[in-house]
């Protein structure tokens, strides 16, 4: 069996609905225009087909997965399939009783997002009162002895709170702390001016995170994800197109990443119409950017393409207008000037308050 293209992780986006309105949401703009959510039986079949394909990790995410009232059945089946199942949640709406049932049914870990280290700012970014409930939920997770990841999406308004965020993660006994800079796609790209930190902010935060990583080694894993606007080389997005991940979105589209369907001219298949293995191996969408033949010359002539696979296709399209271009985050990209100008804009507007637009179902805020 060739392991070059083997999915290890299924990202199940159970719904685009969410009680929060974070301005960097990874769901597509205008998500309300999508079709109906696929039903329980379809998800159960998808889990089974995914496991048969080699998937061992399952991320239950959204939107807010807790809004699905069939989550219990999904967790139970995933556990029976021996999938390592991680619930990625805002923590709302949830009761201790429901979380206990998830644990009893075999849920393996929980990731709770926090928007800031304090209630006022966290609730402002989330666009809804939520901070106190999140703290409570993280304490429930720890009391049930479920592994806890505390996730914080970093941007210019919260990246200076790294110390406080680390202290908060320690206080709630997190096993992992993900300090992940926003990736500037979808909502975050729309709000980039209001979100992109300066290089100094990123470097300071990185240094503090590295020290904490050393201090907490073996107790809490500290992960710092650099915004790729400040890295020399692009990220190996999704570990390469159609190599390790399958995303199934709420309406049942099987995708190589959660925004692949925003690229023009690609055809993706729905799990209600086609078997997942067939989609993975043979569909046009999954094969589009596999291998080397599509690579732009800049990448083809660079050794790093075996490591970064040319970077992120969505970033290439949404920044340069060409999905086949080298990721503009790469310093060798002919379009890198677009990233540099975003950085200098961030530097010039440092300290100046800028309002962001909250995510809305309409895709554009009317506020």
């Amino acid at each position: 069996m060739n392991n070059e293209y083997r999915p290890y992780t299924l990202i199940a986006e159970l719904t685009y609905r969410c009680p929060l309105r974070c301005p960097y949401c990874s769901n597509p703009l205008g998500y309300a225009g999508y079709g109906n959510e696929i039903d329980t039986d379809t998800w159960l079949r998808v889990f089974q087909e995914a496991e048969a394909l080699g998937v061992v990790h399952l991320n239950l995410t959204g939107g807010e997965p807790l809004l699905r009232d069939d989550l219990e059945r999904l967790i139970e089946r995933a556990s029976r399939l021996e999938l390592y199942t991680n619930l990625i949640t805002s923590g709302m709406p949830l009761t201790f009783g429901r979380l206990s049932r998830f644990a009893a049914l075999g849920l393996n870990s929980v990731q709770v997002s926090v928007q800031s280290s304090g209630p006022t700012e966290s609730d402002r970014i989330a666009g809804a009162p939520s901070f106190h409930r999140k703290l409570e939920v993280m304490q429930w997770v720890a009391s049930l002895e479920l592994p806890l990841t505390m996730n914080v999406v970093l941007h210019r308004d919260n990246i200076d709170e790294i110390e406080e965020l680390i202290a908060l993660a320690e206080r709630v006994s997190a096993d992992r702390l993900e300090l992940a800079n926003a990736q500037y796609l979808g909502w975050a790209l729309k709000n980039r001016v209001a979100l992109l930190p300066t290089r100094e902010q990123v470097e300071t935060a990185r240094t503090i995170a590295s020290k904490a990583r050393e201090r907490l080694r073996g107790t809490m894993e500290v992960i710092f994800v650099t915004p790729n606007y400040y890295s020399v080389h692009p990220k190996p997005c999704m570990d390469g197109w159609g190599r390790r991940f399958i995303v199934v979105n709420p309406e049942g589209l099987a995708l190589p990443c959660h925004l692949a369907h925003t690229l023009p001219g690609l055809r993706f298949d729905n799990v209600t119409k086609r078997d997942l293995a067939d989609i993975w191996h043979h569909s046009d969408g999954f094969n589009e950017f596999r291998g080397n033949r599509w690579l732009p010359d800049v990448c083809r002539n660079c050794d790093r393409h075996t490591k970064d696979f040319g970077g992120c296709r969505c970033q290439a399209f949404h920044v340069t207008g060409n999905a086949c271009a080298t990721d503009p985050a790469c310093s060798l990209s002919p379009d890198h000037g677009l990233i540099e100008s975003a950085r200098s804009q961030a530097s010039q507007s440092a300290g100046v308050p800028i309002l962001f637009e909250y995510r809305t179902g309409r895709g554009f805020s009317q506020a």
């Binding site: 080699g54 390592y84 991680n86 393996n108 990731q111 592994p147 073996g218």
Partner: protein, 97 residues
């Protein structure tokens, strides 16, 4: 450590966040934890299976020495310690520093 013994009284066991599962595709065992996992070699699998929280590192090494007569106890002990140290650094085992 001339006799290959560490004298360590700790009894390592896998952390709560870790699940061990067999991978039909490769015939190897996988150690799964949030977001990622490790594919275990045959020796690593043997060690992990012995980390039940009941055996000390020395007992694990002695057990392995019985089935690997071609390798010295000193070497086995060193390999077990190196491997467990790597796992402990990632928070994947408890009871080992």
């Amino acid at each position: 450590m001339t006799n290959g013994m560490t004298g360590d009284i700790a009894r390592p066991q896998l952390s709560l966040k870790v699940r061990l599962r067999f991978d039909r595709r490769t015939g190897h065992y996988l150690l799964l934890y949030p977001e990622t996992g490790l594919e275990l070699s045959r020796t690593a699998t043997e060690i992990v299976h012995l980390c039940t929280g009941e055996r000390t590192v020395d007992e694990i090494a002695q057990y392995l020495a019985q089935t690997h007569s071609d390798i010295s106890l000193v070497e086995i002990t060193r390999d077990v310690c190196d491997f467990l140290k790597a796992l402990a650094g990632r928070g994947l085992v408890q009871g080992f520093k």
